[in-house]
C-alpha cells in the first residue's frame, strides 16, 4: 500500500462495476467514511493518547509533553511535533528499517494538517522566553492497515491532543520545575479534520479502504478547521484531477469534515 504492489485486476474491475451503479463493495455511499471509533486515554502514562479505528485500520497516538529548549530564533514559542510511523506488524508488506518516502509523506502530511491549523497555541507554551519552552510530541503509530492512514493518524493525533493534560512548569534555580497539582489541558484553538478522497476511474470516494486504496489512480487529503476554512492539502498518486474534481473534493472535505469534527468534540467531553 505504501509501495507498488500488484493491482488485483479482478478486484479493481469489481470495484468500478459497483461504482458505476453508485455503490461500493462494503455498502457505503461514495461520500461516506467508515465508522470511526475513538478510545481516549489508551496509554494512561502518556500525557494524552487516543486509539482510532477507521474500519479495520487501527492507529494509536501518544502525546508526551516535556520541557525543551526553544528553536534558536523563536524563543517566544513552544515546540510542536507530530510524527507517524507504520509498524511492521500492521501489514505483511511493511519493511523494517528507516522510513521510506511514502511513510515520510504520511508523517509530514499529518503534521502539517495539525500545525497549519494552529490547533495547539504554541505562543502559550513558554516557560521562560528564549530559555525554556514546552515541547509537545504527538507520535502516531499504525497498528493494523486497511487503507487511509492519512485520516486515521490525523484523527488519533487530534483526539489525543484534545484530551491531553499538561503539567505547569516554573523556573526554579534556572531549571524548569513542575508545579504540583497544576495540570491543565493544552491551549487548543481549533479542531482540524482531514478528509482523504481517492479517485478510481472517474469516481471520487471518501475514505478509501484497503482494496480501494490499491485500486485508486490518485488521492487527495484536505484538512479543514473549525471555521470551515481549508488549511492544508496534499494530492498524491500517479494520475491527475480535473479542476472540477478538485473543487468537488474541497466541498466534500468541508461537509464530511464537519460531521467528524462533532465526533472528535464529543471524545473531548468524555475525557473530562
Amino acid at each position: 500500500m505504501t509501495s507498488v504492489s500488484v493491482i488485483d485486476e479482478l478486484k479493481r474491475a469489481q470495484i468500478l462495476e459497483l461504482l458505476e451503479q453508485g455503490k461500493r463493495v462494503d455498502g457505503r455511499a461514495l461520500d461516506e467514511p467508515r465508522k470511526i471509533c475513538i478510545e481516549i486515554d489508551a496509554i494512561p502514562k502518556a500525557n494524552g493518547s487516543a486509539r482510532v479505528y477507521l474500519g479495520d485500520t487501527q492507529v494509536l497516538c501518544g502525546v508526551k509533553i516535556q520541557p525543551d529548549k526553544p528553536f534558536p530564533d523563536v524563543g517566544d514559542k513552544g515546540m510542536f511535533m507530530c510524527t507517524a510511523e507504520l509498524l511492521p506488524l500492521s501489514h505483511p508488506t511493511v519493511e523494517t528499517g528507516p522510513p521510506q518516502a511514502p511513510v515520510i509523506e504520511l508523517a509530514r502530511v499529518v503534521d502539517r494538517g495539525i500545525r497549519e491549523s494552529h490547533m495547539v497555541d504554541v505562543s502559550d507554551l513558554v516557560i521562560e522566553k528564549d530559555k525554556s519552552v514546552v515541547g509537545v510530541f504527538a507520535d502516531v503509530v499504525a497498528i493494523d492497515y486497511d487503507g487511509n492512514l492519512f485520516d486515521a493518524c490525523s484523527y488519533a493525533a487530534t483526539a489525543a491532543l484534545l484530551t491531553s493534560k499538561t503539567p505547569t512548569w516554573e523556573m526554579v534555580d534556572d531549571q524548569p520545575s513542575v508545579v504540583e497539582g497544576a495540570d491543565k489541558p493544552l491551549p487548543i484553538t481549533t479542531i482540524p479534520v482531514s478528509v482523504t478522497m481517492g479517485k478510481i476511474g472517474n469516481y471520487i470516494v471518501v475514505d478509501p479502504n484497503g482494496d480501494e486504496w490499491e485500486s485508486m489512480d490518485s488521492r487527495i487529503t484536505i484538512t479543514t478547521d473549525s471555521d470551515g476554512n481549508i488549511v492544508a492539502l496534499q494530492k498524491g498518486g500517479s494520475d491527475g484531477f480535473t479542476q472540477e474534481e478538485i473543487n468537488q473534493c474541497g466541498d466534500l472535505s468541508i461537509k464530511v469534515g464537519a460531521k467528524i469534527r462533532e465526533q472528535l468534540k464529543s471524545s473531548k467531553q468524555e475525557g473530562q
Binding site: V6, D8, E9, L10, Q14
Partner: protein, 226 residues
Amino acid sequence: MADKRKYVIPGDVITSGPFRPEQNVVLEGNNIISTSVGISEIYEDSVKVIPLTGKYIPKINDLVIGKVISHTSLSWELDVNSCYVGFLPAQDVFGRDFSTHADELSSKLKTGDLVAARIANFDRTRDPLITISDRDLGKIDDGILVKISPSKVPRLIGKKGSMIQMIEMGTNAAITIGQNGWVVISCETEEGLSKAKKAVEMVNEKAHIANLTDLIKEMLDGKDES
C-alpha cells in the same frame, strides 16, 4: 476411528507410549507432544493434531486457487497463499510444442489473473509445481474471491460435502474451494452472491461453534435485509 479428542496447545502432552507421531505432533522421550493449537486424535498406532490455525502448506493433488504475480518467457509465478510460490510452466498451458517465439504467456494468463489449479508436485526443497491442464481447472473469469483460514476448509466442505452443498443450494451459487483457503463464489443474482459470501465468512469466524450448520441454514433461509 479416533479416540479421545482433546484440545491442545504447543507443548501439551497428548499421550505416552508406542505411537507413531503424525501431523503436528512430535515424540519427546516417551511422550507425544502437540506442536500446534488444535484437536488431538489418537488412533490405534498413531497420533495427530488437526490444527485450528496456520498457513497453507502445499500438498500434492490439492486443488488451490492461485493468483498470477509475475511471469518470465517460460513460466508463471502464482501466489497460492503459502510461504512458497507456485510455479506454472508454459508447457502446461501451451502444450509440448510450446515455443518462446510463437507463444506469448500473457496472452493466456496475465498478472492479477485468478486460476483454479492443482499442486502437481512439492517437496520443501523446491517451490510447488502447479498444473491447470485438467478440465475443471484454468483461468477464473467470473466470481468474487473470499479468503478464509486454510484450517477452516474442512469445515466449509463439511461431512461428505454437506456444508458446501447446503450453501450452494440455498443460494444457487457456484463455489470453488481451494485447499489453500481461497474460495471463489459466482452467482447470477446479487442476493445469492452476497448470502453465499456471508455463509463462507461465517464458517471462517465460527468454525468452533457446535450449531454452526443451523445458524447458517437460518441465515440462508432468512430474507435479505441489506
